[in-house]
Structures are given as structure tokens and as C-alpha cells.
């Protein structure tokens, strides 16, 4: 099946256009690197065509794993049309990528997206002249507002192979001609393969090796060409395209505009300001705490758990079950202490659902505003201690939404070393949304001091272990170089859509696991193993952590999902003192990640690394929990 491939720089709106073309929603955010995998969907106007949403590339050669995925698609996919999505505000950068993609010799269309932002800055350019210069259809769009989509679809239907070709230095042109004569024929023009090879693109080299091309000779030719230049070849090629792009932009732009200075942009500047940045972080954290911890976990859980489930639904359901189900064991299985309904569904719907809903709303607003990317600037110095740079904060913050997804996002990091350290820290010390919500809910009842102790302990462990990992994992640190997306007012429709999709995913994943967990607890209880496990866990849970022996069940549940375990502690309510609650929550926060996260860690890092992580994380969680227990007792925390 042929494809329309959406290609473009990071954060230019490819995923929104993908949604407009296919009707299929994929996660859309205001930071570079939201899409780390290729997403496919059927083109709604021509079902015989597949639309591919690819991770953003600044240019090629690829510099990270997500960029390599895009290079791989361009080389291996059967492409009907390349649809480049570009940021209209940054025409020069957009056109330099066009000048590379043009060489592919495939039908192509340029969607100049974010025209609203370009207009707001007063940028004006001659669209017809630009199309004529590049020899392809150029369509102005505002994908978020569904503007220009009909014209884009029309352009896709009529897409032609562009005619413009940039000219490189004579020596480069001769090398390209030499390479073209020996490269195998494929759907991409040999000239673009030659350009990518000269620039050192790894995905292209893999593709060439698969086509039985003698790489040794060609690499020698490339090295010979490199000797003629002081700069790396990739930069020589890039500079030529940039100069050509610059000349085109000068001819088509009638007004270059000026930087926006609205309130939202001002907030964006304060968010990375050396003095205002950190107070703003605290303000944001406090707002999230109030919304999720106090409103979600306090008010909403109170209504749902106490007023609705405990007062109305559960007594009614118990009565029905006890009346109509003849077997006492089955009654117990459904509505007993570890019943599918009374434990599994009540935990999932009455306790966790309101918490994750409020968390997903807050998260979506921050994500859409472009705030998260700004944290990389503020946190760079802290991450330097770990041998990382501020870009590592993005997967970490996304881990607060879902550790599984965040583990995939580590692909935006530039080296395997960075990915390994961040994956380990995600598995160890980053609580996912559900767990964080439960933690906030429990700690809200213990007071702000308890929250600060929990936060301080987790951050201390994160940085201590991170520092040690930075020393032990071989490889050099990459200094911070990152793009900051423009600060924007979040689109409420997008936040609502994202919240709904995350909730849907959450319910689909969590309810079955909570039901399995409840069933497992029921079976263990019935066959007498649960009391045995609780007794066996006593030295650790009661002796070392200082928790009531019943808390063993929560840790057992925590092996399935950390939030399930945390909910088990939450449900113990007054059965735990604030000190015990705090110790239990810190231990569970540092506990093994959920099954889904483990599977992704295995996929990304291999089973050996995943097992080593588990072997380190489990004892460390209990070790820290026990130390905290003793410290809290020592300082008289009650």
C-alpha cells in the first residue's frame, strides 16, 4: 500500500495534520519529540493510501533514534507523496529541509502550518512565488483550526515531482555523480541517497548495506572528499542548502515581522528567568497539588467513594449478590474484602479515576502550553550532576503522566548512555499519574510537611542514584542544546481530547489489572497463602518498615502496579499513622515499575538490563523506606 508521509521539523503540527487527514487522533503537545514512533492511519479521502506521521527531524542525517525512524521510513516505505509540514514563522529553516526532500524525486507538497502565528507576528510572504521557486504546491494551513485542510487534500491529490534542485560545491557535485553511478535503483532518486551517505546518515548506510553496496570503497571516497573541506561534510551540505533557502526566503518574504510580546510570551520568558523561574515552578507545583491532591483526591474521591460507592452502590450491589448468588464463596469473590467489585472496581473507579482525571487535565494544560520544555533550562544545572543535561527532564516529567510512555520518549535523548540512565531513574523514582494522585491524596490529609518529606526523599534518592549511575555508566556528557517551543495558551478542546484518550487508555489497562489483582488476592486469601505471605513479610514490613502487617498485602499488590499498591495503603485509611503512611508511600514510590513499563524497558534496553534494574530497585526501595522510618521516629514525626 502506498503512503503519504508527513515529514517535518519537530513541533510543527504534523500530528494535528495526521489527525485531519485520517480522523485518527494521536497525542499532540507543545514540545519537540512528542512523536517518537511512526503512526499509521488510513487516508480518509483515499482509503487505499496510508498516512504516516513521523518523528520530527531538524534535517538529515539523523541525530537521535526517533530521527532515524523517519530516515528509515523515507528509505524503505512505498511513498506516493511526501507531505512536508513546515512552520510558517521559520520559513528559512523549513525551506532548507524542503531543499533536501525535493531531491528524493517523489511527488511532494509543502504545508506551511501555523500561519496564524506567522500572521500574528506580522510575517508576510508571497505564497505563489514560493511555490514557483520550489516547483511544488505550497499550502498555507492552521491545522489546529482546520484551516487550509481542503486545499492540502487537493494538493496531495495533484502532487507532482518538484523541479528545483540546489547546486552544491563542484567537488561535492562530482562526488554525487560518482556515487549515483554505483548506487542501486530504488524509489528514492539516487542523488538523495548519495547526499545522505555523504552527510554520514547511519540509516542510509544500513539501507545501502542491505542492497549489497560495497560500503568500504564508498566510505573511502567520502573520506577523500572530506579532506577537501575544513568543516564536516554534513555541515558543508547543510550550509549550501541554508544559503539557497536564505536566498529564496529573501525573494519571497515581504515583511519579516517581529517577536510577539503578549502576556503568554512574557510568562514563557519568566518560566526560564534566572530569578522568576523557580518560584514559578513552585507555584505550578502548588497549583497541581491543590487541584489533584486536594480537589481530586479529597473532594471528588470523598463524593465518589463515601457518598456514592460506600453509601449507595456497594450496599445495593452486595444485597443483590447475596440475594441472587447461592454460593457464599462466589459472593465473597464478588463483594467480599478482596471482591472483584468491592476491591477491583471500587479502587479503579471511586479512588483512582477522579485522581487521574484531575491529574490528566492539569498535565494536558501544562503540556499544551509549552511549559515542560522550559524546565530543561532551569533543571540543566541539576542534571549536570547526574552526567545528563536538562533535556532529560522531559521524559522525567512525562513519566509523571505515564512511565511506560515516558520510557519510549527517552529516544529523544542523544546517546545510549543518557537513555539508559534516564530509563533507570524513571523505573526507580518517578511515580506515574495514578500513583502520584493517590500519594497526593494521602499526603494531603497528613499536611504539607509530609508532602515535602516525601518529595525530598524521592528527589534525594533520584539524584543520589542518578549521580552514581552517571559515574558508573561509560560515555561522555552532552551539553544542553535544545529548542524551546513558543509558549501558547492551551487549546481546551485539545486538553479535553487528550484527557479523554488518556482516561480511556487508563481504564482499558487498569481495570483488567485491578480485577486480576483483586482475584489474585482473593485466591491467595482463600487458599491460606495471603496470611502466610503477610506473616512471612512481617520482618520486612513490620520489623524494618514499621508498618502494620496488613500492609504486606499492599506491597504484594504493588508488584502488579505501584498505584494498585498505593491504593491499598490509601484504603487502609486510619489504620496507618502519618509516619507509617509516609514510609509506605516512599517505599511504594521507589518500588518496581508496572508490568507495562517493564515490557517497554525490555523492548528498549533488553531483558538483561531490565532484570538488573529490578534487582537493584526492589531492595533499594525497602532499604530507603526502613531508613526513613528510623529517621522519622528519631526526629519525633508522628
Amino acid at each position: 500500500m502506498s503512503s503519504i508521509v508527513l515529514v517535518g521539523q519537530p513541533n510543527v503540527g504534523k500530528s494535528v495534520i495526521f489527525h485531519r487527514l485520517t480522523g485518527r487522533y494521536v497525542n499532540v503537545s507543545n514540545y519537540p519529540g512528542t512523536t517518537v514512533e511512526v503512526t499509521r492511519g488510513q487516508y480518509s479521502d483515499a482509503p487505499e493510501l496510508t498516512v504516516l506521521d513521523t518523528p520530527g527531524i531538524l534535517t538529515l542525517p539523523a541525530r537521535s533514534e526517533d530521527e532515524e525512524a523517519t530516515a528509515h521510513i523515507l528509505l524503505n516505505e512505498k511513498i506516493a507523496v511526501i507531505a512536508q509540514v513546515g512552520d510558517a514563522k521559520n520559513l528559512r529553516r523549513t525551506v532548507q529541509l524542503t531543499l533536501l526532500l525535493i531531491e528524493a524525486g517523489l511527488p511532494m507538497v509543502l504545508a506551511l502550518n501555523m500561519m496564524d502565528e506567522a500572521r500574528a507576528r506580522g510575517i508576510r510572504f508571497d505564497m505563489t512565488k514560493l511555490a514557483a521557486e520550489l516547483g511544488l504546491a505550497v499550502v498555507p494551513t492552521v491545522a489546529t483550526g482546520n484551516e487550509g485542510m481542503a486545499a492540502l487534500k487537493q494538493a496531495l491529490a495533484e502532487a507532482k515531482v518538484p523541479i528545483f534542485k540546489p547546486t552544491y560545491d563542484d567537488a561535492v557535485e562530482r562526488a554525487i555523480d560518482d556515487l549515483v553511478s554505483v548506487l542501486p535503483s530504488g524509489q528514492l532518486h539516487a542523488r538523495v541517497i548519495a547526499l545522505l551517505f555523504l552527510a554520514g546518515d547511519k540509516a542510509t548506510e544500513v539501507w545501502m548495506a542491505e542492497k549489497q553496496v560495497d560500503l568500504t570503497t564508498l566510505i573511502a571516497r567520502r573520506e577523500h572528499l572530506q579532506e577537501k573541506f575544513d568543516e564536516p561534510l554534513a555541515e558543508v551540505l547543510q550550509r549550501t542548502r541554508m544559503a539557497a533557502a536564505d536566498a529564496i526566503v529573501r525573494r519571497v518574504v515581504t515583511n519579516r515581522g517581529r517577536e510577539g510580546q503578549g502576556l503568554v510570551q512574557k510568562i514563557g520568558q519568566w518560566a526560564v528567568h534566572r530569578w522568576f523561574g523557580w518560584p514559578l515552578v513552585l507555584l505550578v507545583l502548588y497549583a497541581v497539588y491543590v487541584f489533584v491532591g486536594q480537589f481530586g483526591a479529597g473532594v471528588l474521591v470523598g463524593w465518589l467513594e463515601n457518598d456514592l460507592f460506600n453509601e449507595l452502590i456497594n450496599p445495593w450491589f452486595k444485597q443483590i449478590v447475596n440475594t441472587w448468588v447461592p454460593f457464599p464463596w462466589l459472593q465473597d469473590f464478588l463483594v467480599g474484602t478482596y471482591g472483584l467489585w468491592t476491591m477491583g472496581m471500587t479502587y479503579a473507579l471511586a479512588l483512582i479515576l477522579p485522581i487521574v482525571t484531575t491529574f490528566f487535565i492539569a498535565f494536558g494544560i501544562l503540556e499544551d502550553s509549552g511549559y515542560f520544555a522550559r524546565l530543561s533550562v532551569l533543571s540543566n544545572r541539576a542534571f549536570k550532576v547526574l552526567g545528563l543535561n536538562g533535556r532529560a527532564v522531559l521524559p522525567m516529567v512525562l513519566g509523571l503522566g505515564c512511565v511506560t510512555m515516558a520510557t519510549l520518549t527517552t529516544r529523544i535523548l542523544h546517546t545510549p548512555r543518557e537513555r539508559l540512565i534516564v530509563t533507570f531513574l524513571l523505573a526507580l523514582a518517578i511515580p506515574c499519574s495514578a500513583q502520584l494522585g493517590v500519594v497526593m491524596g494521602m499526603l494531603a490529609s497528613y499536611g504539607g510537611g509530609a508532602f515535602m518529606i516525601w518529595l525530598g526523599t524521592v528527589i534525594f534518592v533520584l539524584f543520589s542514584v542518578g549521580w552514581l549511575s552517571g559515574k558508573l555508566v561509560k560515555g561522555k556528557r552532552i551539553p544542553l542544546m535544545t529548542e524551546l517551543p513558543p509558549m501558547r495558551l492551551p487549546l481546551m478542546t485539545n486538553v479535553a481530547k487528550k484527557t479523554w484518550l488518556r482516561l480511556k487508555w487508563y481504564l482499558e489497562e487498569v481495570i483488567p489489572l485491578f480485577l486480576i489483582g483483586a482475584a489474585l488476592m482473593f485466591v491467595l486469601d482463600r487458599i491460606g497463602l495471603l496470611p502466610w505471605i503477610i506473616k512471612a513479610g512481617e520482618p520486612l514490613v513490620t520489623g524494618w518498615l514499621g508498618l502494620p502487617k496488613e500492609a504486606s498485602a499492599a506491597f504484594l499488590m504493588g508488584f502488579l502496579r505501584r498505584d494498585f499498591g498505593a491504593t491499598g495503603l490509601f484504603a487502609m485509611g486510619s489504620g496507618l499513622s502519618p509516619e507509617q503512611g509516609l514510609v509506605g508511600l516512599v517505599t511504594l514510590t521507589l518500588f518496581v515499575p508496572c508490568i507495562a513499563s517493564m515490557l517497554v524497558i525490555i523492548k528498549e534496553q533488553g531483558i538483561k538490563t531490565a532484570l538488573i534494574m529490578i534487582a537493584l530497585i526492589t531492595p533499594l526501595a525497602f532499604f530507603v523506606g526502613g531508613l526513613l522510618h528510623r529517621t522519622l521516629i528519631f526526629v519525633g514525626f508522628a
Binding site: A234, E259, V377, L378, L480, M481, T482, P486
Partner: protein
């Protein structure tokens, strides 16, 4: 002798005139991918906590070690 970003005050309009040879090739290629090449006009937005510049309407944050390898001069003297 060109100066580095550290030598200018916030708000300066600058032109990229080169890169120090000490800048690692992969970092230089990355800057180039963002459009930061010889002759590119940039604006210095801030110097702390990290250097921030704008290239066209793209805002970039660069750690000191990278920023001090970019040789620039004031746009007016171009």
C-alpha cells in the same frame, strides 16, 4: 578576532561568524541543523541560567560550553 556570545549584552542583534575548533563536530552539526551557520543573524535573549538565542523565530537554549564556541559580531557592523 571575533567575540563569543558571552561578550554581548542581552538583546544584542548578532551575526554568526564562525565556530571555535574546540567545538565537537557532532555539536557543530547539531547547531548547523538548527540553521546556525556562518552569516546567520541571531538575537541574544538571555545569558542566565543558560544562554538563550533566537534564530528566526526559533528559540534555542545552549549551555555555556557550546555558546562560548560560537563566534559572533554585532549585526550593525556587518
Amino acid at each position: 578576532m571575533h567575540k563569543t556570545l558571552h561578550n554581548f549584552s542581552t538583546g544584542s542583534q548578532l551575526i554568526v561568524r564562525g565556530f571555535k575548533p574546540t567545538l565537537a563536530p557532532e555539536l557543530r552539526e547539531h547547531l548547523s541543523a538548527w540553521g546556525l551557520a556562518l552569516g546567520t543573524p541571531i538575537t541574544l535573549l538571555a545569558k542566565r541560567p543558560v544562554i538563550r538565542i533566537s534564530v528566526e523565530y526559533v528559540e534555542l537554549a545552549l549551555e555555556s560550553v557550546v555558546a562560548e564556541s560560537i563566534l559572533v559580531e554585532e549585526a550593525s557592523s556587518d
